[in-house]
Point group: C2
Chain length 266, copies 2
């Protein structure tokens, strides 16, 4: 068994409440990030603006330097997507130092319906990373990151499209690379957790249904575009849709079955 | 026809790219927020910390002062959930002035698979609000907000649980109220949009399948807890699960059918 790497605890990523399922392990944190369709990326737009900004972006953890890295090895976060010029300009202005960003990914796995409103909760998995975002300038690394991100949306998609991107496409694409300084994850699973003051009152337990509504992200049957000329939906797409649906559903169902020690639930 | 209220444009919420489906209308923005299971809330933890923080929270737009307000009226955002003591302490320290926060909600409606990696996209709806968060102190308003938020998870859930919360429960619950100063929404829908240089090349179009994989959030069959004593899943839960599933699926399918003028797509 190898060592399990953990992110350092800083004030900003140390969890004070609901520690029960907090993790600093790289593996689970990176998995939560990599399986999220959307990452929410926050940065401070300027000294004059009191409000942080949040952008929804597509991203993926990976290592260009050490491509054989596993999910629990040190990785960078590569971002692409609905990129305002603001974040790009800010990152460019910071140069090698990078723009401080926060990256968050959250999966909702279930609605936990308890006896009292206060005990209601979600089953969920969330991860947060802090790091410094720089613009990737090397053509080779940009191309590698574009493939990484495209194949995170649908595996094998990159090699089944018109590649490589031409000069204009390479120029119009900006990839941010976030060097991670710390991270944390939080997982809530299991069933309802009510207090004795309610569980021992028949007039409450006989009236209020308690349980979990499992929640997951579903992919529907692929819909060909009117410009599509390929008769059948390719196998790599169909099999991914089927696999993802089954995994997502299974994850929500498995989360319910986990039985936490009572005092650790919420 | 009444007037349609819009949020003011500030530098921080003005969209520079992909304007095609940008909106400043209160109605659509509030709807995107209210239909999201999770909101990502960002704030600057301290002057010494370069990184913004992001918390996943449950929230809902509403008006305590004017309960008859509709979705396109001015509303506040009430937040509850995975609340670190940090955000609460910061908001408390700011008093009436409030803590500057950014709130983001994103729904993924489809994977848009185009001829080239660069034209790949998501169908999505996203909304961002900026505002000042204060702690709700009035018991009456706190109770109102707790009901608002509980019923946003499952309609009618509040009145079907053990209520009202007792003194200890009221004390342990913190509600943040965000007075919104600006907001914006962005919607991408439709099919693929490739450029002529590819759509006119048979060797590309005959090889690459193009279309949209619809994506939506699914609620599974409610799973009773081992502590549950109510024999049947209540109708208000079953009907909500069925309604939400149908609406979510329909939303993803409808998004595909929208046909944007070519030059406005990406």
């Amino acid at each position: 068994m190898g060592k399990s790497l953990v992110y350092p605890k800083r004030e900003s990523n140390t969890m004070n409440r609901y520690k029960h399922r907090g993790t600093y392990d790289l593996g689970p944190i990176h998995s939560i990030i990599n399986s999220a369709s959307v990452l929410h990326v926050s940065f401070s737009p300027s000294q004059d603006d009191p409000f942080p900004a949040i952008l929804p972006m597509i991203g993926q953890m990976g290592s260009f330097e050490f491509p054989s890295s596993g999910i629990d090895d040190p990785l960078e976060c590569y971002l692409h997507g609905y990129v305002s010029s603001r974040i790009m300009n800010q990152a460019r202005a910071r140069g090698d130092e990078g723009l401080p960003v926060c990256i968050a990914a959250t999966h909702v796995d279930g609605l936990v319906l308890s006896l009292t409103p206060n005990s209601h909760s979600y089953n969920y998995r969330s991860a947060v990373l802090h790091g410094y975002a720089t613009l990737v300038t090397s053509e080779e690394e940009r191309l590698w990151a574009m493939k990484l991100i495209t194949n995170s949306v649908v595996p094998q998609r990159w090699e089944n499209t018109r590649i490589p991107p031409d000069g204009a496409e390479m120029q119009s694409t900006t990839i941010l690379k976030v060097k991670v300084v710390d991270g944390s994850g939080k997982i809530r699973d299991g069933g309802v957790s009510d207090e004795k003051k309610d569980t021992e009152r028949a007039e409450v337990t006989e009236k209020v249904w308690v349980g979990v509504v499992p929640v997951w992200q579903t992919f529907g049957e692929p819909v060909p575009d009117r410009l599509n000329r390929v008769k059948q939906v390719p196998e790599y797409i169909n099999s991914y849709v089927a696999r993802a649906n089954e995994q997502n559903r299974q994850h929500a169902m498995d989360a319910i079955k986990v039985s936490l020690p009572k005092e650790e639930q919420h």
